[in-house]
Amino acid sequence: MDYDLIRFTEFESASGLTRVEIVELVEHGVFVPAGKTVDEWAFHESALAVARVAARLRADFDLPPESLALLLAYRERMLELEQRVRELECLLPR
């Protein structure tokens, strides 16, 4: 992704999450928007990929925001560990 900021309304429509769900996920620390008030919020475009995963998981498993936040935190840790494994694999000779 490039590193543009996207406005709340576009983030909402592109992610598939509702405004209320996004606010709750921000409260849970899943997203860290720029801007002081909700109306001024803008999101890193890289957060959109996470938001779309959140929307799919919420819809497909019928998850409440607190479970979703926990699941996304574990997913983030898993992705970091996978990245670390990839780096270590790169050090192994073929």
């Binding site: 592109a14 998981l57 997913r75 990839r86 790169c90 050090l91």
Partner: protein
């Protein structure tokens, strides 16, 4: 139209109740959901499972599905003569080439929101496509031609599949697993709704020499024992041509030598690094003179690579 056995896909009997169907869906969704599953065919399996659940969880759609009768999975079939009247699918005269999932999506669209009426604004569908690139293409950037099949709502309210050709610019420096968003390149919006987006999942093909991790590249560089011991200046390949690499005296196997900025470009205008991972290669067949010189070295050297075992 090809028959799909939604009950078999969910692994439940035709008599299964709503709760049993929901449990079966949840069990399979947990196993195959593409955001959490590592199963090789997770995406396709999840699509099947979601499609089956989407139909069987809805009383009206399930009745319409059951009304199609039982057939073998994959078998060509026609709905019974009165089926379209019974389930309000009138106007859908030619069902020959239609996919079963589109048929039930159409029923949902007509029964639920009435696309025909034209008053509800709906965004177009988003699509995700995996684009396979070589490391060279990732480094330079490239343009790819994509042929998609998108679902659209026809004027008569039917869900139809339409081909869509898109040329997409891939900027230099994309990395494996990165997602690129092409705004408005997905399915067409309905009744003035915004067009959907197209997401490109970047997958880098394995390279015969380089391994990529993010914007960094790794290259195995075998050196001779005397190059490792004495140091050397050698030439190695990079994605942008050959460069000189100084091997420091006393280098070890597994050591990483960093060539700053010789990896993939990144969006900040700089580039990742290229790491040369050293291995010490030994000739598998020695000439008589090489053998004598190694034997002489063995006699003359006090070096003990396993000295730390004794401590």
């Amino acid at each position: 139209m090809k028959y799909k056995d939604y009950y078999a896909i969910l692994g439940v009997a035709h008599s299964a109740g709503d709760e049993e169907i929901k449990k079966a869906y949840r069990r399979l969704a947990r196993k195959y959901h593409p955001d959490v599953s590592k199963e090789p065919n997770a995406k396709e399996r999840f699509q099947e499972v979601a499609e089956a659940y989407e139909t069987l969880k809805d009383k009206g759609k399930r009745a319409a599905y059951d009304g199609l009768g039982s057939h073998r999975a994959g078998q060509d079939f026609q709905p019974p003569p009165d089926w379209q009247q019974r389930f309000h699918a009138s106007g859908m005269d030619d069902l020959g080439g239609i996919d079963l999932s589109d048929l039930f999506a159409s029923l949902g669209a007509r029964g639920g929101h009435g696309f025909r009426g034209g008053e509800i604004r709906m965004p177009g569908e988003d699509y995700e496509v995996t684009v396979h690139l070589s490391l060279e293409e990732a480094m330079r950037g490239t343009e790819v031609a994509l042929e998609l099949t998108v679902r659209e709502i026809a004027k008569d309210g039917r869900v139809v599949r339409a081909p869509k050709s898109i040329r997409a610019r891939i900027p230099p420096g994309v990395t494996d697993g990165q997602k690129l968003r092409l705004r408005g390149k997905g399915g067409a919006g309905i009744n003035g709704g915004r067009d959907g987006d197209l997401y490109l999942n970047i997958a880098l093909r394995p390279h015969p020499l380089f391994r990529a991790s993010g914007h960094d590249l790794y290259l195995d560089v075998p050196v001779a024992p005397w190059e490792a011991a004495l140091g050397a200046e050698i030439e190695i390949p990079t994605l942008a041509g050959r460069v000189a690499l100084k091997i420091p005296a006393g280098s070890k196997a597994g050591q990483r030598l960093r060539l700053a900025g010789k990896g993939l470009p990144n969006p900040h205008g700089t580039a990742g690094n290229l790491y040369a991972v050293l291995s010490v290669a030994v000739p598998s067949v020695l000439t008589d003179r090489e053998r004598r010189l190694f034997e002489e070295l063995r006699g003359a050297s006090s070096f003990n690579p396993r000295g730390h075992f004794a401590q």
